[in-house]
């Protein structure tokens, strides 16, 4: 057992988790029907085997079972886009799909975009263009924008980019710089 743990190593997440975790993880209805299944997910080129109930969304599997908290929970109903990840290169809302449905798929989260210390072009562009304020929607915005690049659109105008990014809400209203960031990478053919 570890003793004398320096206080600064207790992150905000550890603290919040310790306070609310016990309550949050109790099933809403204990039922004989609950079923635990072994599910192997391939996330950012690494396999992870989880023992989870079918009702665990991909978002909750990432955040609550794998501690990959880069993917954010905003509305949890597919309306805000904060939870956007890529499945087989396509952007989706991870809150509206169950993890168990994606055995064998290639899942990419914000944590998997950089190559070592080398940021993905879209991450670098969001930094350079100041495409965020509070940052909560940013990982979803960036994953969505990477998905947009993968879709191979031709001759996108600013209006087209706004429409194609309409599944990602930014409450701070950083939209002008988000469009600039996405456009800069799009115009460079995927490079920063």
């Amino acid at each position: 057992m570890q003793k004398d743990l320096p206080l600064f190593e207790v992150t905000r997440r550890d603290f919040v988790g310790a306070v609310v975790g016990a309550a949050a993880l109790v099933p809403e209805t204990a039922s004989a029907q609950s079923q635990q299944s072994s599910v192997t997910l391939k996330i950012n080129r690494q396999s992870h085997t989880l023992n989870i109930e079918p009702r665990v969304t991909l978002l909750d599997a990432l955040r609550e079972y794998l501690q990959m908290t880069g993917t954010k929970k905003g509305c949890d109903h597919g309306q805000c886009g904060a939870c956007t990840v890529l499945i087989d290169g396509r952007r989706v809302n991870s809150c509206l799909t169950f993890a168990i449905m994606h055995e064998g798929a290639e899942i990419t989260t914000i944590e998997g975009l950089a190559q070592g210390d080398q940021l993905h072009a879209m991450q670098a562009a969001f930094l350079k263009q100041d495409g965020f304020q509070c940052g909560y929607c940013t990982s979803g915005q960036i994953c969505s924008a990477v998905g947009l690049l993968n879709e191979g659109h031709k001759d996108l105008s600013d209006d087209d980019i706004r429409e194609l990014m309409s599944g990602n809400i930014c409450r701070c209203g950083a939209y002008p710089n988000i469009v600039t960031a996405v456009k800069s990478v799009y115009q460079q053919g995927g490079h920063a």
């Binding site: 039922s31 029907q33 109930e53 009702r55 949890d76 799909t97 169950f98 449905m101 599944g167």
Partner: protein
Amino acid sequence: MIPFTYNRAAGIDEAIGTHGRFIAGGTNLIDLMKYGVENPDHLVDINRLPLADIEALPDGGLRIGALARNSDMANHAQLKQNYPVLAEAILAGASPQLRNLATAGGNLLQRTRCYYFYDAGFAQCNKRTPGSGCAALNGYNRIHAILGTSEHCIATHPSDMAVAMAALEAVVYVQGPQGKRRIPFSEFHRLPGATPQIDTNLNAGELITSIDLPPVAAPSRAYYLKVRDRRSYAFALVSVAAILQIDNGSIKQARIALGGVAHKPWRVPAAEHALTGKQPGEAAYKEAANLLLAGAHPHEHNAFKVEMAKRAVIRALTVAESRS
């Protein structure tokens, strides 16, 4: 969310033979499960069934597999070429992320976005709890239906895709415990009547396998107009799928379907026939619009939809006419 059991069907027969709710894209079903509106005890995952292809038919039509994703449909070369009104309608709906998950079959089976249905905190909803009443009738009913309603339900069907498919006279193919059958699009969704909990004419255990689009007979001009509270990522207040065939300066054939106004995509054959042989233009379009909205029965907050729908019909036909 209430716990449930799950299995992944390896084949169509296995899926049909399993008691439970089918799940494909899941974007609507999972949302409703989170709200406690849908509470299935078993889910049959049909995503691995071989129903995702979009293929040309020998007669020149197009077969859209029930599991084709909405984004794959909107990007399909032949679909865009021959049925542009359908591609436009799909791209007018939801967001890119949702369209990547949502399937053709699931889109048809979307439940209404009536707030009283979606929020289980309201005791009254005949669609959610049969016999409980309709809170929308005397509640806030701005987004609700003005055509084909009943005293039991004034919900609308939320799909854009289905409105275009109605105008294209698609055919829904299903397979169930009693075998296979085809359902003309106009008979797929139903009006609420006294049983608004039933959205479609699918029988228990039936699985949608494909949606077939008939061949396009002659060059046609088409447009999908969606009127909504914001420019993107919102459900339609009113929408119109308009298809015109114009030959030697007169209308040879017209197909018009309305969304956002009824429990199903709304078509009025008399309105389409009234355009046949007429000269394209506002006078003819206005007559068709009036016929489409005949019998409209608005409620306290949605009377605006009657005039909005008429103007939308005229505008959609005018834009369609201008296309070649």
